[in-house]
């Protein structure tokens, strides 16, 4: 079983639609990061959330960290074809800073 369950695995939507990607766990995380990865490239950091209940906005992307620091969500408003890519959540457990745990990723395809 995955420590971080990410859903959905695949998402294909039309340009202009809204979407939400979820990252859930039964464990408490010290922090969670969201990355976007293009094929053949390294994950690029989008945001880090640290405080329970924290909400961060990055243009049309809104990131939320759950109050209990066990889950996070990424919401994209009015998706554009340029948002197409693999979105990954990753986190550090509150009691083990040596390892980042990754979700399995969400492949987003935004059709024009």
């Amino acid at each position: 079983t995955q420590l971080l369950e990410q859903s959905p695995q695949f998402l294909s939507i039309q340009e202009g639609e809204n979407l939400t990607v979820y990252c859930n766990s039964s464990s408490v995380f010290s922090s969670l990061q969201w990355y976007r990865q293009e094929p053949g490239e390294g994950p690029v950091l989008l945001v880090t959330v640290v405080t329970g209940g924290e909400v961060k906005k990055l243009k049309r992307l809104t990131f939320q960290f759950g109050d209990a620091r066990k889950d996070s969500s990424l919401h994209i408003t009015a998706a554009q074809p340029g948002d197409t890519g693999l979105y990954l959540c990753a986190g550090v457990l509150s009691y083990n800073f040596n390892k980042f745990y990754f979700g399995s990723g969400t492949k987003l395809n935004v059709k024009p």
């Binding site: 010290s30 922090s31 990061q33 490239e41 994950p43 640290v50 040596n98 990754f102 990723g105």
Partner: protein, 111 residues
Amino acid sequence: EPEVTQTPSHQVTQMGQEVILRCVPISNHLYFYWYRQILGQKVEFLVSFYNNEISEKSEIFDDQFSVERPDGSNFTLKIRSTKLEDSAMYFCASRGLETQYFGPGTRLLVL
């Protein structure tokens, strides 16, 4: 903006050969990591390194693998005798306070 760099970007090797993948982490970071990603699959943790020693490793990181920080800037991953199934993208990462930054990766192909 500081970034993690990796060399080479691509490496092709014969099965059984040794390879060394190189990384230059962000200069004031103290935690370093290696991950791999087999084509089409998820990012897998290999090893973390802190204070000049391995702090955690996964079951993938067997005796064929080793890591080293030979000087103040480089962080290397050595695979002693490569196997076909070692073909993957290998990512180095370094961490500041809470955030981990990835390098662009080395694509390793074992023939």
